[in-house]
C-alpha cells in the first residue's frame, strides 16, 4: 500500500505495478509531485531484478541495465531448485520469523559465562548466538532476560511412559510402546531439562526389544516425541528374577545367539547353493541350446534313421527336464535377522546386569560372540573390573547409586566406582533408569563422587559426540533456560524448554505451581 500523504517515502520489497502490465519486487524511493496520479511520480532510484527495459524507462529508470538473459535464467533456476529441493528449510530460512532469546547468559565449556547474549533461532535451529548477535527485524522476542541457556539434557536410559508396556522379542521396538499423549509424564521430564531420551524397552528377562532414541518435541499432529532412530541397541536383561532364573535367562540368550549363528551358516549355504544352482542352470541352458543346434544340423543328414533318433531325443528331453535342483529357501525369521545384525556389529547390544554374577554372564556372552556391548546398571562392576578392562568394545551405562541401611537390600556399590573405571579406561555414561525426571539429580550426585567443580559438563556430555559435546552451539534445536547457573548453583531449575523453536514447557507462575 502506498501512503500518499508523505512527501518522500520508501517501499522496500514491495510488489510494484509499473503501469505497463509488468510488476516486480523492488525497493523504490518516491517523491510524489502529483499525489493523485502515481504513474507521474518521479522515481529517483530503483533497484530491481527482472524488470523489463520498457517498464523501467516508463518509470524514469532509463539508467538501469537489463540483466543478461542467461544470468536471469540461472538465478531463477537456482531459486526454483532451492525451493523445490528443500521447501521446509528455505521457507524456514527466508519466510519464518526468527525467534530471539534476548539477554540470556550462556555457560561455556571453559567454565566462563557469555553474559547478556542473544540466541537467534530460525526454522527451529540456532543460527546465531553470543553477546554481539543482533535481533533481526520483525523477529519474535522472548522475555527471558537473566536466564541461563544450555542445550537440552539426554537421558540414555529412560522408561518414560512405558509403565504398562512389556515386550519380549528382538523385533519389538520401545518406540512402539511410547505413549506420545501422556503429556503429564512427558512435561514432568521436560521440566527437569531432559529433551532427548533413549527409550529402553521393558519386559521379562532375556531379549526384551530394541532401544529407540527420540526427542521430546511437540508433534504437529498432536502429542510429543519425534523419533530419531528405532535401532539404537538390542536390549537384553540378565538381572531380573531369582538366581536360578537368571542362569536360565543367560542360557536362553546364548541359545538364541547360537541359533542365529547357525541360521547364518544355513544362509551362507543357501547362498552358495543358489549360486551353484544358477551356474548349473546356465550350463544346462547352454547345453540344451547346443544340442538343439546340433539336432537341427543333423536333421537333414539323418532322415533315414528318423525313428531311432526320435527315441533317443525323447530320452534326452527327459534328462533335461530333470535339470539342476533349486535349493530350498530358508523361512524368514525377523528376530534372528536382528540377532545377526548384533553378531555383525551393525547393532550394539545393551545388557542389563547389576550384580557381579550377572556381569560375569554378560562378559561371557560378549567374549563368546564378540559383541559391541553397553552394560546397563553395572552396580557391582568394581568386583569384575579386571574382566571388564580386558573387553574391547564395552561401555557402562550407570544408574543412580543409592546406599541403603538395610543389609542385602540390593547390589553392592562402591562410592569410588567411577574413579576406578576412569583408571581402567572403561568408558561410562549416566542414565536415570526411570522416567528421566531424576537424571539431573543423578548427574549432580555422581559429580560429587568425581569431585568435579560442576555437573554441567558431565550432563551435557551424555549422548553427545564431537569436541563441543552437548554445549549450546549453532544448529542446535533444543534450548533449556535455567533460573540459575546450572554449572554453579545446585538448586538451579529449568524455567523454559524450547525444542524446534517452540516453547514446549514453561514453569508456571508462583501461585499456579503444582496446580491441576
Amino acid at each position: 500500500m502506498i501512503h500518499r500523504g508523505r512527501q518522500r517515502f520508501r517501499l522496500a520489497g514491495a510488489r510494484v505495478n509499473l503501469g505497463s502490465g509488468d510488476d516486480c519486487t523492488a525497493g523504490v524511493f518516491f517523491e510524489p509531485k502529483d499525489r493523485r496520479k502515481l504513474p507521474k511520480m518521479k522515481c529517483n532510484r530503483l533497484f530491481s531484478r527482472g524488470v523489463s527495459k520498457r517498464s523501467a524507462i516508463q518509470c524514469g529508470g532509463s539508467h538501469l541495465q537489463r540483466l543478461p538473459r542467461w544470468l536471469t535464467l540461472l538465478l531463477v533456476s537456482l531459486t526454483m531448485l532451492l525451493v523445490w529441493g528443500h521447501p521446509g528449510t528455505v521457507e524456514a530460512q527466508f519466510f519464518e520469523r526468527a525467534l530471539v532469546l534476548e539477554g540470556v547468559h550462556i555457560p561455556g565449556p571453559d567454565g566462563g559465562v557469555l553474559e547478556d547474549s542473544n540466541i537467534i533461532l530460525r526454522g527451529g535451529r540456532i543460527v546465531e548466538l553470543g553477546p554481539d548477535s543482533d535481533a533481526p527485524m520483525m523477529s519474535k522476542k522472548l522475555k527471558v532476560k537473566g536466564l541461563f541457556a544450555t542445550a537440552g539434557l539426554t537421558d540414555l536410559s529412560s522408561t518414560l511412559t512405558l509403565d504398562e508396556v512389556r515386550s519380549s522379542s528382538a523385533i519389538h521396538s520401545a518406540w512402539d510402546g511410547f505413549d506420545r499423549y501422556d503429556s503429564q509424564q512427558i512435561l514432568r521430564t521436560l521440566a527437569s531439562g531432559v529433551t532427548k531420551i533413549h527409550l529402553i524397552p521393558m519386559g521379562p528377562s532375556g531379549i526384551v526389544g530394541r532401544v529407540s532414541s527420540l526427542s521430546l518435541g511437540s508433534r504437529e499432529e498432536g502429542g510429543y516425541g519425534i523419533l530419531h532412530s528405532e535401532d539404537v541397541a538390542l536390549c537384553i536383561d540378565l538381572s531380573s528374577g531369582t538366581p536360578l532364573e537368571r542362569i536360565r535367562t543367560y542360557e536362553k540368550v546364548r541359545g538364541a545367539l547360537k541359533s542365529a549363528q547357525k541360521m547364518r551358516e544355513s544362509l551362507d549355504d543357501y547362498t552358495s547353493d543358489l549360486e551353484e544352482y544358477i551356474e548349473d542352470l546356465a550350463e544346462a541352458a547352454k547345453k540344451k541350446a547346443q544340442e538343439k543346434a546340433e539336432e537341427k544340423d543333423k536333421e537333414k543328414d539323418d532322415k533315414d534313421d528318423k525313428d531311432d533318433k526320435a527315441e533317443d531325443g525323447d530320452e534326452k528331453d527327459e534328462k533335461d527336464e530333470e535339470g539342476p535342483k533349486k535349493p530350498d529357501r530358508l523361512e524368514r525369521d525377523p528376530a534372528a535377522e536382528i540377532l545377526l545384525q548384533v553378531l555383525d556389529h551393525e547393532l550394539p547390544v545393551m545388557i542389563t546386569a547389576r550384580r557381579s554374577a550377572d556381569l560375569q554372564n554378560a562378559i561371557d556372552l560378549i567374549e563368546e560372540f564378540q559383541l559391541s556391548a553397553i552394560l546397563r546398571g553395572a552396580d557391582e562392576a568394581h568386583l569384575v573390573l579386571e574382566a571388564l578392562a580386558k573387553l574391547e568394545k564395552v561401555s557402562l551405562l550407570l544408574e543412580v547409586p543409592r546406599s541403603s541401611l538395610t543389609r542385602g537390600a540390593g547390589p553392592r556399590r562402591d562410592p569410588h566406582l567411577i574413579a576406578q573405571l576412569d583408571e581402567e579406561g572403561i568408558s561410562w555414561a549416566v542414565g536415570s533408569g526411570g522416567e528421566s525426571t531424576s537424571l539431573w539429580r543423578s548427574i549432580q550426585q555422581l559429580s560429587g563422587q568425581l569431585s568435579t567443580a560442576s555437573p554441567l559438563p558431565l550432563a551435557l556430555a551424555q549422548g553427545a559426540q564431537g569436541p563441543f559435546g552437548g554445549w549450546l552451539r549453532r544448529g542446535a534445536t533444543e534450548v533449556v533456560l535455567w533460573e540459575g547457573n546450572p554449572a554453579e548453583d545446585p538448586l538451579a531449575r529449568p524455567n523454559r524448554v524450547i525444542i524446534n523453536g517452540t516453547v514446549v514447557w514453561q514453569r508456571p507462575s508462583g501461585t499456579r505451581e503444582g496446580s491441576f
Binding site: 541403603s404 562410592p415 525426571t437 550426585q445 531449575r493 508462583g510 505451581e513 491441576f516
Partner: protein
C-alpha cells in the same frame, strides 16, 4: 523482625555469651571457617562454631573472631555445617512388627519407646550418613495411638531420648476395623467430632495427626480444632491444602521417591506457598540413607524454596516432636552436627564429618570394598 535480622541478633548474643563464658576454655573445639545453616534455613558464610566439652554448642560467631588458641577443625572450602538430620515416623531402631498397636481405639498408654532397640547397628550406620535423630510411633490403627518417642541415633546398650513423646492421632482408613467401632468413615468422623468438641481432646496437646490421604486431610481440616495438630500427609491434597493459609500449620510430608507420585510433591509445594511449614519423612531404614535429602531435592526441583527445604530437613522436625536443643545450631543446643561438602540440598554433597554430642565420629567405615562386602 526479619529472619535475617533475627539471625544477626542471634549471632551477636552468641558472641557476647562466648566472650563472657567460654573464652579461654581449653577443652572447647572450634569448627571454622564454615558456612552454617541458620534456624531459618538460610546459609551464613564464614562462621565459626564453638563446641563446648559438655557436648553443647558454646557459640556461633564470625570466623575471624574465634580464638586461634582453641583446638580448631578446619572445614573444607565450600563445606556447610548443619544440625543432624531427623528421620520422622520411620522404623529406624525398631523392627517393623514392633510398632504394631493393639486394638484399643483411644490408647493413651501405648509408648513407642518400648519398641525401640538401641543396640541395632542401623542407628550407627544412619549416624554416619548424617541422620542423628529418629522418631518412632505406633502404626495408626486407633484414633489415639499412644505417644511418639525420639532418640539419638547411637548404637548403645541404653537408649538416648532427646525429646518427650507427643500424642499420636489418626483420621485414616487404617482406623477402620471390622472387629470394633468405628467400621465406617462417617462413624470415625463422628467419633472425632465428639472427641474434639466434648471429650478429652479439647484442652490437650493437639499432637500429631496421621491423615495420609486427601479425604483424610479434608475431613481433618473440617474438624473444629482449637489448635491445629501437626498434619502427617503423603497423598494428593492439592485442593484442600489451600485452607491451611494463615493458620501457621506444620505438616510432615514425604518420603518422596524418584519417579514417585508428583501430586504428593506438588501438594507439599503448594502447602509451603500458603505459609505452612514442612518437615520431611525419610522412610528409613527401608529407604536409602540419603533419602531425606533426596526428598528435599525433589521438592526443590518442583518449586520449593531452598530455605524452606532446609528448615524442613533440620529445624522443623524438631518442632514436630517439640525437641529442645536439637535441629538448630545455636548456643546451648546439642552439638549434633554434620559437615557436608556442599549445600545439603545439592545431590552432590557428601557427609565429611559428623559430631554427635560434640564427639567426632570416624568416617572411613564405608570407604573400602572390603567394608562394603561386609554390609551385605
Amino acid at each position: 523482625m526479619k529472619s535475617g535480622n533475627r539471625w544477626w541478633l542471634w549471632i551477636l548474643t552468641g558472641w557476647i555469651g562466648w566472650c563472657t563464658t567460654v573464652e579461654g576454655s581449653e577443652n572447647s573445639v572450634v569448627i571454622r571457617p564454615v558456612a552454617v545453616v541458620a534456624p531459618d534455613g538460610s546459609i551464613c558464610e564464614q562462621m565459626a562454631v564453638v563446641i563446648h566439652s559438655d557436648g553443647t554448642i558454646a557459640a556461633v560467631i564470625p570466623a575471624d573472631q574465634a580464638d586461634p588458641a582453641l583446638t580448631t577443625v578446619h572445614a573444607a572450602a565450600g563445606s556447610v555445617l548443619t544440625p543432624g538430620l531427623h528421620d520422622l515416623f520411620g522404623a529406624l531402631g525398631c523392627g517393623q512388627d514392633a510398632l504394631l498397636a493393639g486394638t484399643v481405639l483411644f490408647d493413651s498408654q501405648l509408648d513407642a519407646a518400648a519398641a525401640f532397640d538401641p543396640t541395632t547397628g542401623a542407628l550407627e550406620r544412619a549416624a554416619r550418613h548424617g541422620i542423628l535423630y529418629t522418631t518412632v510411633a505406633a502404626v495408626p490403627s486407633g484414633i489415639r495411638n499412644g505417644s511418639s518417642a525420639t532418640f539419638l541415633c547411637k548404637s548403645d546398650a541404653t537408649a538416648h531420648p532427646v525429646a518427650a513423646g507427643r500424642p499420636m492421632y489418626a483420621l485414616a482408613d487404617s482406623v477402620l476395623q471390622s472387629s470394633r467401632e468405628p467400621t465406617s468413615r462417617s462413624a470415625m468422623v463422628s467419633l472425632w467430632k465428639d472427641f474434639i468438641v466434648e471429650g478429652a481432646g479439647q484442652n490437650r496437646d493437639p499432637g500429631v495427626l496421621f491423615c495420609p490421604d486427601a479425604i483424610d486431610f479434608r475431613q481433618s481440616l473440617s474438624l473444629r480444632w482449637k489448635s491445629l495438630p501437626v498434619l502427617v500427609h503423603q497423598g494428593d491434597a492439592r485442593s484442600p491444602v489451600e485452607r491451611l493459609a494463615g493458620k501457621g500449620a506444620l505438616m510432615v510430608v514425604g518420603p518422596f521417591l524418584e519417579d514417585g507420585n508428583p501430586a504428593a510433591v506438588a501438594t507439599a509445594v503448594r502447602a509451603a506457598r500458603t505459609g505452612t511449614e514442612l518437615a520431611f519423612r525419610g522412610g528409613l531404614p527401608a529407604a536409602p540413607a540419603n533419602h531425606l535429602r533426596g526428598s528435599a531435592a525433589i521438592a526443590v526441583a518442583a518449586g520449593l524454596d531452598g530455605d524452606a527445604a532446609r528448615r524442613a530437613l533440620f529445624s522443623n522436625p524438631a518442632r514436630v516432636v517439640v525437641g529442645h536443643g536439637i535441629g538448630v545450631i545455636e548456643p546451648g543446643a546439642r552439638a549434633d552436627l554434620v559437615l557436608f561438602s556442599a549445600d545439603p540440598l545439592d545431590p552432590a554433597a557428601r557427609v565429611l564429618q559428623v559430631w554427635r554430642g560434640g564427639q567426632q565420629l570416624g568416617m572411613n567405615t564405608f570407604d573400602s570394598i572390603r567394608d562394603l562386602g561386609g554390609i551385605r
